[in-house]
């Protein structure tokens, strides 16, 4: 696995490598805000990622097949949809969401046997150190401030999706 430095030249060369090999990472983006969902989808598509969006934690868990433990043992696993789900390369979630928060979603993902290896990035419009530490301690690979820029997504792609 390649490690990339944070210089912009290595970022763009690692992006080229990904594109040339036709590698399209699949990212699940979770955010209750409509505008932010549209934005993160565009940012990810601009970085040649395949994107699935979810508006809350429960839909996200449903997509990941984590909502009902029994699902793991049905024929559903062999269907095409399941193949799709098991290939999520990264999850980006907003922290503040009504109902299940991004933190609670993070916990469920990191405590599942199926999805705990998938990198989870938590984003928030608020810079709260205790919040950031909480997420990192629970296994989030990164915490980023909203609104995200293209350079943020390029960095994420290089670090976690190669």
């Amino acid at each position: 696995m390649e490690t990339s430095s944070s210089s912009s030249s290595s970022s763009s060369s690692c992006m080229k490598w990904s594109c040339e090999n036709g590698y399209q990472p699949h990212v699940l983006a979770v955010d209750d805000n409509l505008v932010d969902r549209k934005l993160v989808e565009k940012l990810l598509k601009n970085s040649s990622c395949k994107v699935t969006t979810a508006e809350n934690g429960v839909s996200a868990l449903e997509f990941l097949g984590l909502l009902d433990e029994h699902n793991q043992h049905t024929n559903f696993e062999r269907s095409n949809e399941w193949q799709q789900r098991s290939k999520v390369n990264m999850i980006i979630t907003d922290y503040c969401m009504p109902g299940m928060s991004g933190y609670e979603l993070l916990k469920k993902i990191k405590r599942s046997s199926k999805m705990k290896e998938v990198p989870v990035v938590v984003v928030s419009s608020e810079n709260v150190p205790t919040r950031i530490n909480k997420c990192l301690e629970e296994g989030a690979e990164m915490f980023m401030l909203k609104p995200l820029k293209q350079s943020d997504v390029v960095k994420l792609k290089c670090q976690f999706m190669n």
Partner: protein, 154 residues
């Protein structure tokens, strides 16, 4: 009107939007995201924002019409509006949201209502400004010109 003049008017208008804090640098970030594959991206995102903000402003108005104001609910709506206005670079709207959240915390109804009124005004203003901007851009393109890069004018 010739293209050069239209472009100069566009530059002046854009400058004024930033100088008067209607827009901030996040709007420039949005413009960078637009490409030939998706030339209507900004118009789409901005339209989404105005649909969403209209809904939120209606919900906020309704919340204050209740005999007992649910401040948690109000804060939730304002948080949403703050988030989306921040994401499109609508700086004045975002700033009023920030002020309103403080009043929510204090459960200050008068303060909140003043902010709500301001939010309606600022949303309307920035909507008109952006509609003007997009119309100018359409006219430039229709006349065969191209739209200067916003980044370069600062």
């Amino acid at each position: 009107m010739e293209v050069g003049l239209m472009q100069r008017q566009w530059v002046d208008y854009t400058k004024s939007l930033f100088l008067e804090d209607f827009l901030d640098s996040q709007f420039i970030e949005l413009q960078k995201l637009q490409d030939e594959g998706n030339p209507d991206f900004i118009v789409e995102v901005v339209s989404l924002f105005f649909e969403d903000s209209e809904r939120l402003l209606n919900d906020l108005t309704a919340a204050f019409d209740q005999p007992d104001v649910d401040f948690q609910k109000v804060d939730g709506h304002v948080h949403q509006l703050k988030g989306s206005s921040s994401s499109i670079g609508a700086q004045r709207v975002k700033n009023v949201c920030i002020a309103m959240r403080s009043f929510c915390e204090e459960q200050n109804i008068d303060g909140c209502l003043r902010c709500l009124q301001q939010l309606k005004q600022e949303t309307c203003l920035v909507k008109n400004k952006l509609e003007n901007l997009f119309r100018m851009e359409q006219q430039i393109v229709a006349a065969g010109g191209s739209i200067p890069s916003t980044e370069l004018i600062f």
